[in-house]
Amino acid sequence: MEGTEGTDNTDHTDDLAGNNWKDHASGKEVGSAQEETEHEEEKSERILRLPLARVKHIMKIDPDVHFASQEAVFLITKSTELFIESLAKEAYTYTTQGKRRTLQKKDVDNAIESADCLAFLEGVLDT
């Protein structure tokens, strides 16, 4: 599988802060593709953590969305997991800057302000 080979030199799976994302490219979830036949049943449980049904529910909020393929829902669910990881790592850089062991909401706020691709979250957490 070509995908898993992207873990070596030219690894472009960096998180928002530019940290290397090798773990994700090699994939805890995907793991060693070579042994997949042995562990396929285990992996089928681990490949997705978030529940597809809940993600579907949220997607339904959009009035313009009518049909989505299984693949689409699957990819959106999986990318949401990746998003959470990414946001967590970004927020954590502020936690360490503040020399703390507890990640606080303000760390998430700072992460949102600092990354362009997180601009869609601006104002969302203000309540």
Binding site: E36, L87, L103
Partner: protein
């Protein structure tokens, strides 16, 4: 259709687990922060769904496909997700194919029984399934939900 508020949120336990596994051991997550992550994740889903929906519409399609989602993710500059997603997609497709083959097999076995009784041709069952997919009709194996409110 009444939506319960809880249904619109992702399970906090799962979100917390994802966060903890992304960070070094021993890091705590404040309660307010957990809520922030849950909210952000829900908004992300809407964001990507909307972006993917746009891609589908621009291609004159009503059904959002996996490719639309990947393109949307690239459009909103989460490019670092694309490689891991491709990996996982391969795996998902293989799993789906396995399920489809199993159910097609079951269908053929059913047809064989009725062929014996009616003397009819089994026919190209596989092609009929594919035609349904081409026409964008929902089949139990492909489109799994209809967003339109009932």
């Amino acid at each position: 259709m009444a939506e319960r508020l809880e249904d619109l949120n992702l399970p906090n336990t799962v979100i917390t687990r994802i966060i903890k596994e992304a960070l070094p051991d021993g890091v705590n997550i404040a309660k307010e922060a957990r809520t922030a992550f849950a909210k952000s994740a829900s908004v992300y889903i809407l964001y990507i769904t909307s972006a993917a929906s746009l891609v589908a519409t621009s291609n004159n399609r009503k059904t959002i496909s996996g490719q639309d989602v990947l393109q949307a993710i690239g459009n909103v500059e989460f490019n670092n997700f694309l490689e891991p997603l491709q990996d996982v997609l391969e795996y998902f497709r293989r799993m789906q194919k396995g399920k489809k083959d199993a159910s097609a097999k079951r269908k053929m076995q059913k047809e064989r029984k009725s062929e014996d009784q009616n003397g009819n041709e089994v026919g190209d069952k596989d092609n009929v399934m594919e035609a349904d997919l081409d026409n964008g009709l929902e089949t139990s194996s492909d489109v799994i939900y209809d967003c339109v409110d009932q």
